[in-house]
């Protein structure tokens, strides 16, 4: 092999490595951005639940807002399934790898959560505190359907 050929070959290899490095960097960035996005969706769900709870607990009296909160959180639960693509299990996330090894169970738990959120919408429309409290209890259990098996423990 001539020195020129050798030079070209190593340059090509170097370029390939750089391209690979850049795309790996892109993938990591992308995963990080998805993780941030889904955490914000989770937080917004938590915010609506906290506000429904504040009414149910009697801390505030905005019962007329229940339906808006319930609809918003029900919409958010529908956004969740595609926010857990493969490769988003590393970095600053509490998602456990079991999500991707037991995806069927994870998807079923998400469906159950969406159903509980839909019941919350119906309950909110009644303006009846006891009905809202009961629906919230069921919704909480459905959150646990994913959080228990698929979320890292708190440290």
């Amino acid at each position: 092999m001539g020195s020129v050929t050798r030079y070209l070959a190593s340059a090509a290899a170097g370029a390939a490595l750089i391209v690979m490095g850049v795309s790996a960097g892109h993938a990591a960035d992308e995963a990080e951005n998805i993780i941030k996005y889904r955490q914000n969706v989770m937080k917004s769900i938590g915010g609506h639940i906290a506000n429904i709870a504040a009414v149910a607990k009697g801390q505030v009296t905005y019962i007329e807002n229940m339906s808006a909160h319930a609809r918003a959180l029900a919409d958010m639960t529908k956004l969740l399934p595609p926010l857990f693509p493969e490769g988003t299990d590393t970095g600053k996330t509490n998602a456990l790898p079991a999500i991707w090894t037991d995806r069927a169970k994870f998807d079923a738990a998400m469906k159950a959560n969406q159903a509980a959120a839909a019941e919350m919408v119906d309950a909110a429309a009644t303006n009846d505190l006891a009905t809202i409290q009961a629906a919230l209890g069921k919704l909480g259990k459905s959150c646990g359907g994913c959080h228990k098996p698929f979320r890292k423990k708190k440290e």
């Binding site: 906290a50 709870a53 607990k57 919230l136 209890g137 646990g144 228990k148 423990k153 440290e155």
Partner: protein
């Protein structure tokens, strides 16, 4: 007359069923993760001392408590001694249950006898030496166990005393929320102040009213609400073992009892004891979502 007696007996069974929820018995003695039958023996409880399996407490004569008399039950609950004379591991929270009143114990027993019997053999504990020696429990008792009923504080309101009874006796909250010494006794100086060495390698939060590291910014309503629904004030659901405690225990309790628990907890001396990691400021995973 007979009807009245029957009604009274029903009443005792119903009270016993309620107390069983308040005592947190269901979550440990039922293996929900493997769809086990009600009270027929629990799933693994991993601790720094080894892995425990709560036994079958259905009235099956061979594998459960079917052959027990009421005095056997009372002795087990209040003295930590089995019908064969052996000493129980303190993972069975008799150090708290010893404070349960005699009427409540009788009602609990009346209810347990009505549970469908299940012939499921008990699973042996899997423990580290020296905890694997059952006789070691005698030493543990000598060091840490004080038998005797709950004594209400006459200087406090009935609601506070009810809360104290539910937290210290029936609910045995300190069994997880109080850190332990290396020999497995409760570290009384840090009562209810949380630990990083909880069951299942969990971090168990500080539930004293310390503003920085405990429940200082939780209202009584927030505490009662968590116990009823499993939701924390920020809208997140409670985690791990406490999720089971809420689902199978406290969510079944009356609002007045949940409030009494909250009143008692908020009255405790605040203890500064940080067990949770400090949260990231940039909205990372440490923010719990």
């Amino acid at each position: 007359m007979v009807a009245a007696i029957a009604a009274a007996a029903d009443d005792r069974v119903a009270r016993g069923a309620y107390l069983l929820r308040g005592g947190g018995c269901v979550a440990c003695h039922t293996d929900f993760a493997r769809e086990g039958e009600f009270l027929a023996g629990g799933g693994p409880i991993k601790t720094p001392f080894g892995t425990f399996y709560a036994p079958n407490i259905t009235p099956d004569p061979d594998h459960g408590v079917g052959a027990w008399r009421e005095t056997d039950f009372v002795t087990a609950m209040t003295r930590g001694v089995a019908p064969d004379g052996g000493h129980y591991y303190p993972v069975f929270p008799y150090a708290a249950y010893t404070k349960i009143g005699r009427v409540d114990l009788a009602d609990l027993w009346a209810y347990l006898k009505t549970v469908p019997p299940v012939a499921r053999p008990r699973r042996q504990h899997d423990l580290r030496f020296p905890f694997s020696m059952r006789l070691a429990n005698l030493g543990w008792k000598w060091l840490y166990f004080k038998a005797g009923p709950f004594r209400p504080d006459p200087g406090r309101a009935p609601e506070w005393n009810r809360g104290a009874y539910l937290v210290e006796a029936l609910g045995h909250c300190g069994e997880c929320h109080t850190p332990r010494t290396r020999l497995g006794g409760l570290d009384r100086a840090l009562t209810l102040a949380g630990t990083r060495d909880g069951p299942e390698e969990s971090v168990v939060p500080n539930i004293t009213p310390d503003a920085e590291t405990g429940l200082g910014d939780w209202s009584e309503t927030d505490i009662a609400w968590l116990l009823k629904t499993g939701f924390m004030p920020d809208g997140d659901d409670v985690q791990e073992g406490m999720g089971d405690v809420v689902e199978h225990g406290t969510s079944h309790l009356a609002d007045a009892d949940l409030r009494a628990i909250a009143v008692y907890l908020k009255s405790l001396p605040p203890i500064y004891n940080r067990v949770r990691k400090e949260r990231d400021q940039d909205g990372g995973a440490d923010e719990d979502w």
